[in-house]
């Protein structure tokens, strides 16, 4: 079994990445758009946060990271709505452009570190002690973002964004500007993702230009795992339940990875395990359906 340290660290990591998963909750669940910008906006958040920290503004850097992510989301939205590019391709285009932009933000260096004194985690640690700094700060951030997201989705604008993802035809023939709501949604989603990247940069004390690779897959897997688990406890996935599912799923995913490491698979099969988990999680609805069907058929024959 994994050590207590490993267990607690997995929860910490899960909480930090849950911000990214919340972003995917907004784009994939609410807006129904598969947004691949995530791989790029995650790194963008880290790059902006580290650059601002090196310039002496660590906390401002976090906010700037969120703003930068929002802008990345707006670019993808523009490509989709005005240029009428297919959503997946629009996301890929922005993600590709962000590789260069991230490098530029990082002063053309592939790897940009900060010292522990510059990290907000260690600054927070002065208040609560080193052992709690990770868990508390990450937990606070995750809780705060869940509240913000749920409140936002209950405002008139938030309702319009939800409707856009639910029934775009209806929205287009109503007085709601669907292009506007999509842009707002994608901007908000990518802002969350960037905030996640910013936090990880402070947690690990560096930003690296390749650190976002594979994020969208991890995020979607986490989201779905979270939903499967939360659905055991609630009848219907309300907005609050969905947001909490994002956090829960992210933590569980990290625990699964930690457990996979414990089982000591050959080092090169970690990705295969991840793919298996993602595939299982994503096919769970279909598996559930076919088991239901099998039961009905069985009862029909009896």
């Amino acid at each position: 079994m994994m050590s207590m340290f490993s267990f607690l660290s997995s929860i910490e990591l899960g909480l930090i990445y849950s911000l990214m998963v919340l972003g995917l909750f907004l784009s994939y669940r609410i807006l129904n758009i598969p947004d691949l910008t995530v791989d790029g906006s995650f790194t963008l958040g880290a790059a902006v946060a580290v650059s601002c920290t090196l310039a002496g503004h660590p906390v401002l850097g976090i906010l700037a990271a969120g703003a930068a992510g929002a802008m990345a989301g707006l670019v993808t939205a523009f490509l989709q709505t005005k240029m009428k590019i297919q959503p997946i391709l629009a996301g890929i285009i922005t993600m590709t452009a962000l590789y260069s932009i991230n490098l530029m933000v990082m002063d053309n260096k592939a790897n940009l570190p900060i010292t522990q004194d510059e990290s907000i985690y260690y600054a927070f640690g002065q208040l609560v002690g080193k052992n709690l700094q990770g868990m508390l700060l990450s937990g606070l951030a995750a809780a705060l973002l869940v509240i913000i997201v749920v409140l936002f989705l209950s405002t008139p604008l938030g309702l319009s964004v939800r409707a856009t993802g639910d029934n775009e035809d209806m929205v287009r023939s109503s007085s709601i500007n669907a292009n506007f709501t999509k842009s707002v949604g994608l901007a908000a989603a990518n802002a969350c993702v960037s905030l996640s990247g910013a936090l990880i940069a402070h947690y690990n004390c560096y930003a690296e230009v390749r650190m976002g690779i594979g994020m969208v897959v991890i995020g979607l897997a986490s989201l779905i795992i979270g939903e499967i688990v939360v659905e055991i406890f609630v009848k219907r996935l309300t907005i609050l339940a969905g947001a909490i599912a994002a956090v829960v799923g992210s933590v569980i995913y990290r625990l699964i990875i930690a457990q996979a490491l414990e089982l000591n698979f050959s080092a090169s099969s970690l990705k295969l395990i991840t793919a298996l988990i993602v595939a299982l999680a994503m096919s769970y609805p279909a598996i559930k359906e076919s088991r239901k069907m099998a039961k009905i058929r069985k009862a029909g024959r009896a």
Partner: protein, 330 residues
């Protein structure tokens, strides 16, 4: 739901079987078994240079008396995903390992963020000061020390002067996502300009761009220099062909790249780096405090020249250089 869980467990069991039967170096991760030392070895991804360091490190540890009878090595690989680096390092810390060996810059950074007590020996970090791993390489201030794969760029430029004196303009290439490569290339450009060469820089972001970027560069320069770049090293044959097509020498950062068709280098041998890392690890395991183990670079650099490349581009290797170099490419 229960059935789903059992399906998942079954899946993981099967994968465990497959995994266990594969790994010859894997040990079951249990707590301290009968006083054996535990060392966690982690790298960011599979790569020839990183793999070579790891292999030669383990071999040297064995020959220094720290083989598998005395040490449990937990070997992990983040498979290119930096998120896994954190998880792996946390696992090491939770398992209370006696030392972490971190290969490559982000690996060392993730390890540093996970523990400030367990000694970390890094390798293949070109500039540990820039990476904020040590403030002073002579006196490491934290729990980190290790080997740097910095190479003597001045010696390469001098070799260029001697072997190919007609070269006036040198082109430099590196992959933008590799900090080691970038740092070395920038130093090399400075050095070259000091020596009076004209320089031009061409960067790529991934291996598919190599051929066209190299061709575009080759048209304007008399020689190309590529430092220790993992991406380009993997596709060395492509770059070598461009050199042959345009008949210009390709100076590289590592001997393996010359082997693969480059022209020449005064450069790094990754297995020597691994061995040196093992020696440092041994002294720390035997009680030397980390602050007294300075960061090391290789003290000897061999000269490597590829004979058939030389012939193909029409360069004659003067005898006094050939005598002191390793000739490759028969």
């Amino acid at each position: 739901m229960k059935k789903f869980m059992s399906v998942m467990m079954a899946g993981m069991m099967m994968a465990t079987m497959a995994g266990c039967s594969n790994g010859t170096e894997q040990k079951s991760g249990s707590a301290d078994s009968a006083g054996k030392l535990q060392i966690g070895v982690v790298q960011i991804m599979e790569h020839t240079s990183l793999d070579t360091i790891r292999e030669s490190f383990l071999a040297e540890m064995e020959s220094l008396g720290y083989g598998e009878d005395k040490v449990e090595f937990d070997i992990q690989n983040a498979q290119g995903e930096q998120t896994n680096l954190s998880s792996i390092c946390k696992k090491f810390v939770g398992d209370n390992v006696d030392m972490i060996v971190a290969i490559a810059t982000p690996t060392a950074q993730a390890a540093a963020a996970s523990t400030s007590d367990i000694p970390i020996v890094f390798s293949a970090v070109t500039d540990p000061v820039e990476a904020k791993l040590v403030a002073d390489p002579e006196h490491p201030d934290k729990n980190l020390t290790g080997t740097s794969d910095a190479i003597p760029v001045d010696e390469v430029m001098q070799l260029c002067q001697k072997l190919t004196p007609d070269v006036k303009k040198i082109g430099f290439m590196y992959t933008t996502s590799e900090i080691n490569s970038q740092v070395t290339a920038e130093k090399a450009i400075q050095e070259a300009e000091k020596m009076g060469y004209e320089t031009q820089l061409m960067t790529i972001s991934e291996v598919s761009e190599l051929q066209q970027a190299a061709q575009s560069l080759a048209q304007n320069v008399d020689a190309i220099y590529v430092p220790i770049d993992n991406t380009i090293a993997q596709a060395m044959k492509v770059l070598a062909q461009v050199g042959l097509d345009y008949k210009i020498p390709i100076y590289t950062g590592a001997d393996s790249m010359v082997q693969d068709g480059g022209f020449a280098t005064v450069g790094i041998e990754y297995d020597k780096l691994g061995q040196q890392t093992a020696k440092m690890a041994k002294s720390i395991l035997e009680g030397t405090p980390v602050s007294e183990v300075p960061v090391e670079t290789l003290d000897e650099f061999g000269t490597f020249i590829n004979k058939s490349t030389a012939e193909a581009i029409g360069v004659e290797i003067p005898a006094e250089i050939a005598d002191n170099a390793t000739l490759m490419g028969e």
